[in-house]
């Protein structure tokens, strides 16, 4: 399994990672090697095997719908890179037009 340069760029775009030229080249070869290794799984006959998503199976966990105290506002905003009026400040996402 060989990844192309544009594969790597597309994955990076999906993952919101900005890669340098050197990183693109490095990840192209390293990820290809790791995916090659993963093709070992093709040796297995997985017909009719159900997937295991979790080691210890748990059904949905419910609790009573009782309001409990939340973190105070200053604690919630303690680590905010930017804040104003008790809110996180981010850049504009939607155009104004």
């Amino acid at each position: 399994m060989s990844l192309t340069r544009s594969d790597v760029e597309k994955i990076a775009q999906l993952a919101r990672l900005e890669l340098t030229e050197a990183e693109v080249a490095l990840y192209q070869s390293q990820l290809s090697a790791i995916l090659d290794y993963a093709t070992r799984l093709n040796e297995l006959n997985l017909e009719g095997i159900s997937p295991t998503a979790h080691a210890v199976t748990q059904q949905n966990v419910w609790r009573e719908d009782v309001a409990e105290p939340s973190l105070p506002m200053d604690a919630v905003l303690l680590n905010a890179p930017k804040q104003a009026n008790n809110q996180f400040v981010a850049q504009t996402v939607l155009d104004e037009g």
Partner: protein
């Protein structure tokens, strides 16, 4: 008396008898950290003032006639576990300066048990690694040979406990990150069954594999920390609402009649001969102690590595999507929102980026079934291997790692080679088993070797008791004060 040479259980006895105080022990350990950690580099943050305050409170409580399981005992916490008011970085620049507004459940448990928190220990970034070389800050050195790694990702905790810079410690184990550094540093490390420990307040790497684990210089020490931190937490929907046995009382040393399985797939080409010899000698010792040794097969062992390196990165790529610089952590401003997110995420180190990329690919349209889907099915086979084995045996004995501690820098540029480090530990994480590493000797260079004991779901008491019984036969050798301290 040099208080830092005591084991946790010895210190607990000394505190209970009034032979020493928590302030004295805490001060001794803090002094030892100042003297020793420049070389070992196990701590990212040392909370000395807070620790001495907690020690004073512990002594006050004891003076009032109170007692609790870890009252006044100084311990360390891996820096991927949230501590209220104390920076928690997960070994990453992307969380540099992050000060959690709350304690993780396991830290609350430590504090409720009376423990003194010494500080936060080094880890590979987001626990992704087997050597702490992926820490964004520095590499922890092996106490037995400073040109070698301490193992990882919980290498800081393992090295701190090994050198008497903490009486016990918390780590996390997603693919072997407690057991492998325990093996490399000559201490005991336990990775409990998934769901035994709460993950609430633990920075997520791969949510179906992550589990908090404990370190001690002895089995009893490791058990004491485990006893205090295990248990149900309603805030973690995957935490198991089952009773917590008295693990400390279960350390009887009587293991007669237990069946110990030895899987042929764990004694393969590529394993260090000295490791194999030490582990086989340890298994022979278990036979002398009255267990029955049974040859078993875990036929899908060779597939655990590719399965793990598809599932773990897939889960990581989803978990790490939250690091966008909006609500917490540093923000690097760019031209617009997306540009800012990308620039901020450039703070991830190379291994984290590699795993995000791998996981994103394995989950992406057109490749999901071929990679992630197949891995989940193969995981079923690996889990079933263990369930089948545990119908015939009570415990499985293997090497923890195929080698002893390797040189710093030796394999850091070869990710696949680094991933092979976890070949014997990660099947436990993929299944519903629990596992531990207990020291079982040294190679000709004086580097520690670990014996891995694997138990069935929630059978921690069994593997801890087998480790305890084994340890009694060798403890004189392992606990003598060594020149490396």
């Amino acid at each position: 008396m040099d208080l830092t040479t005591l084991t946790l259980t010895q210190l607990r006895q000394a505190l209970r008898s009034g032979a020493t105080t928590s302030v004295a022990a805490t001060q001794a350990v803090l002094d030892h950290i100042v003297a020793r950690d420049n070389d070992i580099q196990s701590f990212l943050t040392i909370t000395d003032e807070m620790a001495l305050e907690q020690a004073q409170q512990a002594d006050q409580r004891r003076a009032n006639g109170e007692d609790s399981p870890l009252l006044g005992i100084p311990v360390a916490v891996k820096d991927i576990i949230c501590t209220q008011g104390v920076e928690t970085t997960a070994g990453s620049k992307i969380l540099e300066g992050f000060v959690p507004p709350y304690d993780a459940f396991v830290v609350r448990q430590l504090k409720a048990a009376g423990a003194v928190i010494l500080g936060k220990t080094n880890t590979d970034e987001f626990a992704m690694g087997s050597s702490t070389e992926n820490s964004a800050f520095f590499t922890t050195r092996n106490p037995y040979d400073q040109t070698r790694v301490a193992g990882g990702s919980s290498g800081g905790s393992a090295a701190a406990v090994a050198t008497g810079m903490a009486y016990g410690a918390l780590g996390t184990d997603t693919g072997g990150s407690v057991r492998q550094p325990a093996s490399f540093c000559g201490v005991v490390g336990l990775r409990p069954t998934y769901g035994r420990m709460s993950r609430w307040g633990v920075v997520a790497f791969a949510s179906t594999l992550d589990q908090v684990g404990t370190f001690g210089r002895t089995v009893a020490d490791c058990t004491a920390v485990f006893q205090a931190t295990a248990g149900y937490d309603p805030m973690d929907s995957t935490s198991l609402n089952v009773p917590v046995p008295d693990f400390e009382a279960a350390l009887t040393g009587d293991i007669r009649g237990l069946r110990v399985g030895v899987p042929q797939e764990y004694f393969i080409e590529g394993i260090d001969k000295e490791v194999e010899t030490a582990v086989r000698n340890a298994i022979a010792k278990l036979a002398e102690l009255g267990t029955e040794i049974v040859e078993i097969s875990l036929p899908h062992t060779a597939y655990a590595l590719p399965v793990y390196y598809l599932i773990a990165p897939a889960e990581a790529s989803a978990n790490l999507a939250r690091y966008d610089g909006i609500r917490f952590g540093p923000r690097v401003e760019g031209a617009d929102m997306i540009d800012s997110v990308k620039k901020t995420r450039a703070l991830f180190g190379p291994e984290v980026k590699r795993r995000i990329m791998l996981g994103t690919y394995a989950l992406s349209a057109g490749y999901y079934e071929a990679y992630y889907g197949r891995a989940l099915k193969a995981r079923t086979l690996i889990k079933q291997d263990f369930l089948n084995a545990f119908e015939k045996v009570d415990v499985i004995a293997t090497p923890t790692s195929p080698t002893t501690a390797f040189k710093i820098g030796a394999i850091v540029d070869d990710p696949l080679q680094m991933y092979l480090q976890d070949i014997f530990t990660l099947p436990v994480n993929l299944s519903a088993s629990c596992g531990l590493s207990v020291p079982c000797g040294f190679d000709s260079q004086g580097l520690p070797i670990g014996l891995q004991l694997i138990g069935n779901t929630l059978q921690e008491a069994t593997i801890l008791n087998v480790a305890f019984a084994y340890e009694q036969t060798v403890i004189g050798n392992l606990l003598s004060v060594k020149s490396w301290r």
